[in-house]
């Protein structure tokens, strides 16, 4: 059997990065007393990423700097009651909550591991982008972490799917 040094190196980089990221996760976060985020699954692990359902609301953030890729956040709204009048406000609250959470995680990543990366503004829903990302599961490793978003007396399950790697330009 041929030993593929490139693949081996790629896996090693991802595991190192994911381990660092894992140590930078935020356990709990109060979003201006309007929402509360709670870490639900403590470990980011390689897993089968099932496709997005029609009840999941996406927010996609691209990463730049020492880390390249994207983070897809999916909030499960199945069987939840979101008033039609408050829908836009809730979507904005959810998107900003994910933005704040990721910003704090990436800030920890620089402070603790000297990995400097920023996140973009959240991207609007794009079916093609989502399909492409989920397909890339077969080419690269994806890692996910679960959070609960608690707002207005309801609990929403959120999946954060990290499709990231160290930017080779910044490797030593």
């Amino acid at each position: 059997m041929k030993f593929n040094i490139e693949n081996s190196r790629q896996v090693h980089l991802s595991v190192g990065l994911i381990d660092s990221l894992n140590r930078c996760l935020i356990e709990e976060l109060n979003i201006y007393n309007h929402a509360f985020l709670q870490l639900d699954r403590p470990l980011i692990k390689s897993s089968f990423i099932h496709p997005k359902t029609r009840y999941e609301i996406p927010a996609i953030f691209k990463t730049q700097g020492d880390i390249k890729g994207s983070v897809v956040c999916l909030l499960d709204s199945y069987n939840k009651h979101i008033n039609e009048k408050e829908k836009d406000f809730f979507n904005s609250l959810y998107t900003e909550s994910m933005n704040i959470l990721l910003g704090k995680i990436f800030t920890n990543l620089e402070n603790n591991f000297n990995l400097s990366a920023t996140i973009s503004s959240p991207h609007a829903y794009n079916e093609k982008e989502m399909s492409s990302l989920l397909e890339s599961h077969f080419k690269t490793e994806l890692f996910s972490v679960g959070y609960k978003l608690i707002s207005n007396g309801q609990e929403f399950d959120c999946r954060l799917i990290f499709n990231i790697n160290k930017n080779k330009l910044f490797e030593a």
Partner: protein, 130 residues
């Protein structure tokens, strides 16, 4: 609120509807005069063509033109406007870039109301002293 700080006009620039509403409420509840909210740098620049602003609270990460680029533009074209930058990111390099662009303060989201009010009061009071 200290003194007559309500005479000064505040603009909030953030692409998040939720954050703009939250900051506006925090300031409004304390009697500050929020005269405008913009969801992008372009909207903010258009607003400034017709309106006087003393203090701008600007999000760092926004689509198209970033908050740091907007702050640089304000420093060149509206040097009298004081700027507080806000972001969920707080890496040293971003804070330094923000201050270099002309910001007077930097707050990491989510911040407590008291932290925002203290920063706003301090900056608006500095106008009074001049």
């Amino acid at each position: 609120m200290e003194g007559n700080l309500d005479q000064y006009k505040v603009l909030i620039v953030d692409d998040s509807d939720f954050s703009r509403a939250k900051i506006s409420t925090m300031l409004g509840d304390e009697g500050f005069n929020v005269v405008g909210e913009s969801s992008s740098a372009k909207e903010a620049i258009n607003f400034l063509k017709d309106s006087q602003v003393h203090l701008a609270i600007i999000d760092v990460v926004m689509p198209e033109v970033s908050g740091i680029e907007l702050t640089e533009y304000l420093s060149e074209n509206f040097p009298e406007i004081l700027v507080i930058m806000i972001s969920s990111l707080a890496q040293e390099s971003i804070v330094i870039d923000s201050i270099s662009a002309g910001a007077s303060d930097y707050l990491q989201k989510p911040f407590e109301k008291e932290v925002l009010i203290t920063s706003v009061e301090k900056l608006l009071s500095s106008i009074e002293e001049v």
